[in-house]
Symmetry: C3
Subunit: 272 residues, 3 copies
Amino acid sequence: VGPFHHLTFLTDYGLEDSFVAACHGVCAQIAPDARIIDITHLIPPGDVRRGAAVLAQTVPYFPPAVHVAVVDPGVGTARRGIAVAAGGSVFVGPDNGLLSWAVTEAGGAAQAVNLTNSELWLSEVTPTFHGRDIFMPVAAHLACGAALASAGDEIDVRDLVTLPAPVSRVRDGEAEGEVMTVDRFGNVQLSITKSDATRIGVLSGVSVLVRWGHRQLTVPYRETFGAVAPGELVAYADGSGLVSLAVNGGDAAQRLALPPGAHVRLAVARRS
Amino acid sequence: VGPFHHLTFLTDYGLEDSFVAACHGVCAQIAPDARIIDITHLIPPGDVRRGAAVLAQTVPYFPPAVHVAVVDPGVGTARRGIAVAAGGSVFVGPDNGLLSWAVTEAGGAAQAVNLTNSELWLSEVTPTFHGRDIFMPVAAHLACGAALASAGDEIDVRDLVTLPAPVSRVRDGEAEGEVMTVDRFGNVQLSITKSDATRIGVLSGVSVLVRWGHRQLTVPYRETFGAVAPGELVAYADGSGLVSLAVNGGDAAQRLALPPGAHVRLAVARRS
Amino acid sequence: VGPFHHLTFLTDYGLEDSFVAACHGVCAQIAPDARIIDITHLIPPGDVRRGAAVLAQTVPYFPPAVHVAVVDPGVGTARRGIAVAAGGSVFVGPDNGLLSWAVTEAGGAAQAVNLTNSELWLSEVTPTFHGRDIFMPVAAHLACGAALASAGDEIDVRDLVTLPAPVSRVRDGEAEGEVMTVDRFGNVQLSITKSDATRIGVLSGVSVLVRWGHRQLTVPYRETFGAVAPGELVAYADGSGLVSLAVNGGDAAQRLALPPGAHVRLAVARRS
């Protein structure tokens, strides 16, 4: 693999401090011609699962790249740093599951190394800022064409930490899933794919019965939120091919009190 | 027109999700050498008018570029996607008025097309993410030198949706306008130009009578907010040449309870 | 010095308006091949001290660059605009102390000019937006190789405005400092260096007594926050080599009510 023209960068570092920029600076020193595309740096602090979901949903739209992701509450402890080759790209970050969904999305891990070669790190490594001191410099070297194997000891890809896949099953004409993400607009994205919805007869035009906790609602299933009146609830397949709930011009997550991780069931609504 | 070295990008997508990055990725695949300058992605969700104002005030400072703007509450409905040539640049986005003020600012629409040529789109188009699936790929192709006419059917520029211009008139020694934008600092930008202010005698050094609703205030008109004491109100012509109200070191919008769209009158204050 | 491939950019302009993008556009027109790395634009409005701290802590990680920083409550008043050569880089911004800590960090000012040559500015300069109209165009010209002396009249580097250095001293086995920054995670960064901590026996593994106001706490001093249980307080040397207080998985600034500027004393905790 490599060299790569592009790196991507996803963290929970926020935008008010200098953390992101210091990493950009490190990359600019090692790989002055590489380009960094920031995915987001507003992953809630330490929320590995959301980081994994956002990364996995974005990766398909990039050219082959070195993807650097750092949501790393265990920084400086025994958790490993890894680089994983998958689908023509390389993923660099902590071995805490953050990269796992994106690696699967990219076709699965072909090769992986434990980042043990300190020659690719900054000369001084601090225990709490591996994004700047280890992950970004390693990634920049890989972007410049360094071999994956040069970054450290090869590890069995089956030993990589993976996050459990979100609940998603179809049974008795009902699809069950969980809330994957809530976006800026308050749209509630479920782990139920458009094709699973199709299998149980949930097609554009029908009404769907949505059940969670002790609540249930009947909601129109349409192509887009603009198909219902402002302020109305609607279910639709979103830009990632996942069934989502929205309020046209409003905030569905707030209206329904549905946070990430909540379990939801979906079926075609039957007339009583 | 084209090819273009630069694209600009303005949306209401926010920064916490992967929406912006997915669009950057699409551009990187089609036009790897083009550069994207993000204008802002924090337009309040669906606020077409603010998007139009911010875009129009920024465009004069860019080199010729493909300007992609997406504030698109009607995505997936009958509203058209358009590309409009104006002043050596091209504007790409929904035909809902978002682009209209910037197009006017750039010298007016020279040519426009309805984005009907799906060969310039991503191979799979989702109904709710035209920014990623249609607007950005079309823009990237245009940046690479594709002819505007290749993006779709030509439409009469007089048929483009335009936002009504903000109220702005001078009468009987008084200038009337509305609040265009409130910025991060709480500065209240009015749709009254510096030159209209000059016409009614509002020049640096005078006091101005500001009236809105049932309220009125006398405020010094100065070159800059630093010309008054901290905590004091001041009127001045801002970086876009529009009369604005500020509190030195404070938040004028909050102090005056003046939201976007509010009507305001301005005149030289007379001694009673 | 120069030409430079990179510019960096730090302001209090925020991300919701077009201020940052207009500056990027100006740079793209003058120096189309230069790259801008945004450090942050979320310095609290007018907070020169925080801007200075963030800039100084980031600069060591960049290649030689033109560093543009604008936190400028005095814009349009008598304060000077300056460009300062230091350590192979150039710093451009208002002469209000904002640049001073970074200049010191870079090795001290070698040469400085008052930005008086309007030929390097935009043709029209507004009194409230020198970032766009003066600082960025000057910086872009310097990036293209213009001589520092071409930007204006040379000034004695001893006449540059400097911020007072933060309190930081060691006395009687106790280190005294102040809160430099609070970051996104709520980590409280003190102006006490790791090496000063070492001098008074504060090494990884000991307990430290932290005193401020009328409060005091005993906190473990460790390599990283992950070394204590979730929810526990910890002291450590952060990525900038400064002693910091954190809550593993939580917000130390909130828990301790320690804002920037607060005075704090640190010593090895003795058993009573």
